[in-house]
Amino acid sequence: MAKIQLKGASKVYEKDGTPVVDDIHLEIEDGEFVVLLGPSGCGKTTTLRMIAGLEKLTSGELLFDGRLMNDVPGDQRNVGMVFQNYALYPHMTVFDNLSFGMRSRGIGRVEARRRVDEVAGILDLDDLLGRRPRQLSGGQRQRVALGRALVRDPVVFLMDEPLSNLDSNLREQTRLELARLHARLGITTIYVTHDQNEALTLADRVVVMEGGHVRQVDEPSVVYSAPSDTFVARFIGSPGMNLWPLSGPDAGDSVERGDGIQLPQGFLEAIDEFPPGGMMLGVRPEDLTTEVEQGCAQFVCQVELQEHLGSHVHLHAKLGSSGGGERLVSRLTPDSRHKAGAQLVLGALPESLHLFDLGTGRRISTSTPVPRTGSSTGLSDPGRLTFPNPAINFAADGIVVG
């Protein structure tokens, strides 16, 4: 196991000179499960490949336990990598797939057999050792790929979207198995995905990336409740956060607004410094409710349509009494019934409001909102999300309980 550090790591391909990964600083503690999360092309896989030794850093430093690894070949870094398509050797049996690496490094037949048997026991592969990959199901192949990474007793596990080839049921099941495996073995794990459910459920810390840059590194609950910028706010959550500009000369001193938004009295006074370019207001769809309490922010809107998703309803609306303003999405309880064209007032508690700098997109620090605690909310459809830390839970309707 190892502590991994990236200091100003960048990767530029010669073709067009555009940095794929740009000046990344990251510290991954020994035994930590870190997920690199972001959309396609954000540089997460390139970062993983740089750690594996499959790509050279253009600049910056990569350290394993303080030792500079930039020029150490991949096979000497002792990493176990799991690829998206598993990359199993199709012409070899499961046993040969698992033992190939050890045999390549000169480990004897007897010792290789012992290690394979041990790993096969952990991953329940004992009965599959004589089969070839094409004779295995998706989940079994995935376990073999994990086993191959595990069998060399790596200092770090690198996983590149390992669940994306599985169907949704198997994905959830395997996700749980991965979490159990990590809890049992405690190997430092770096996991790449574009699926926020995987990221938020598995990670000790999530690294949100976009355009080759790291946007935020935090615990899943913090990434969700206090996104560092508008990109993270939109990217995390399903649907992402509602964001509306609060620009204009009266942005700082008026709570009565003509665009259908009414902020709580004194809400903007908590802001330390007003950005010159204006602000954006953010509210998560699950924090909007039809039960408007005293002191809530209010959103007057006109209903466009409702999507019934079983456990909840997505209400799509436009701000303003005439429905001519910005778009709004709200996540309501399944019994909600609102006709298209109906006028509606939604409320959100002050602590669930987020403010961002309109120019830079960065979060504006205030005394509110604050990360909340309470019972649980679901980000995923239709399943509910439970954070690894049981102390951090949210109410399904976005209103703080207790």
């Binding site: 096979d75 990493v79 990598m81 050797y89 012409h91 190939f100 690496g101 390549s104």
Partner: protein, 331 residues
């Protein structure tokens, strides 16, 4: 009167089920007509290709089998059934056995040389070891194959000219003795091989490149991460995964080497006859078939030789197939 389901026959039950809207129009008569029309169009489109194939392949091939068992002359309409007589004559012809041995020698050298060189060049082009602009190199390697072999063979005749050819110039410039090449009994066939190799290599390189492109890069990456060095990755990962391509190349080159004719004809004799020299050093089976038929006008004997050649190629292909079923890995 109530009717239970068991009282209704299967056919009644089926007619009671309404047919899907699209199917209702397709009554049996319409279906037959439509399928007849489709078939006519299909055969009409295939006709030109089939006609050419029948006229220039099946009829001559059938006629060849026929005359192999007869005494037949192009100048006389009298044909006489001789059974295996032509084959008996061949068995007692030392030149026929010599031609088979020459063909075998040519094949035994050419197949491994072609396969290994083509694979080596394909690996170099794929890995791009010190090579930029891979597309230009691929085109350069493939170019000889699209040039007519007669034209390239004439160039090689000049290169192998013992007195002022490039080959001997290069040999003597590194203090090696000049060779007789096409005038030497020992070097004439190797000279033809070099020409054939140069001409055919491009095709096999492209086939190998296609095969290599089907080996997922992740397999090579993961093997590298696991500590396997390049030779082991090639031996244990790449080689087994490209075995169908290798098998295809071996079959293709076996067939083409046993049939090699144009380059030998051009380099060793040309239109004035005498191809296959010097002293029959380059007389392969295909050359002997040509000479027997069109120089000596023993068409029946040449047909029998062709059948033997066909039998050898068929046997070799079956052996290769038998081996491939055991060692080639198909995904």
């Amino acid at each position: 009167m109530s009717v239970t389901l068991s009282q209704v026959s299967d056919s009644e039950l089926l007619t009671a089920i309404p047919a899907p809207a699209g199917k209702r129009r397709a009554n049996p008569g319409f279906r037959r007509l439509s399928s007849l029309k489709n078939r006519l169009v299909a055969y009409g489109l295939m006709f030109p290709a089939i006609a050419v194939f029948v006229a220039f392949f099946y009829i001559p091939a059938g006629f060849l089998i026929y005359i192999a068992f007869f005494h037949w002359s192009i100048l006389s309409s009298a044909t006489k059934y001789v059974g295996l007589g032509n084959f008996r004559i061949l068995i007692h012809q030392p030149l026929f056995w010599h031609s088979l041995l020459t063909s075998a020698y040519y094949t035994v050298v050419m197949i491994p040389a072609t396969t290994l060189l083509a694979l080596g060049i394909a690996l170099l082009l794929r890995e791009g070891v010190g090579i930029r602009k891979g597309g230009v190199w691929r085109a350069a390697v493939f170019l000889p194959h699209v040039t007519p072999i007669v034209a390239t063979s004439i160039i090689w005749v000049w290169i192998f000219n013992p007195h002022f050819g490039l080959a001997n110039y290069l040999l003597t410039s590194v203090r090696l003795p000049a060779l007789g090449w096409l005038e030497s009994v020992h070097w004439a066939l190797p000279a033809v091989m070099i020409d054939s190799l140069w001409h055919s290599l491009g095709l096999y390189v492209i086939i190998f490149l296609a095969g290599l492109s089907r080996v997922p890069r992740e397999l090579i990456e993961v093997a590298g991460l696991e500590g396997a060095k390049r030779p082991r990755i090639f031996r244990r990962i790449i080689w087994p995964l490209i075995s169908p391509t290798t098998f295809f190349v071996v079959v293709l080159s076996t067939v083409s080497t046993w049939q090699a004719f144009s380059q030998i004809y051009t380099m060793t004799g040309g239109p004035h006859g005498g191809a296959g020299g010097p002293a029959f050093a380059t007389t392969t089976d295909a050359v002997l078939v040509y000479q027997t038929a069109f120089i000596y006008e023993h068409f029946s004997l040449a047909a029998a030789m062709s059948l033997v050649l066909f039998g050898i190629i068929l046997l070799l292909t079956l052996i290769q197939k038998w081996i491939s079923d055991r060692i080639v890995f198909y995904r």
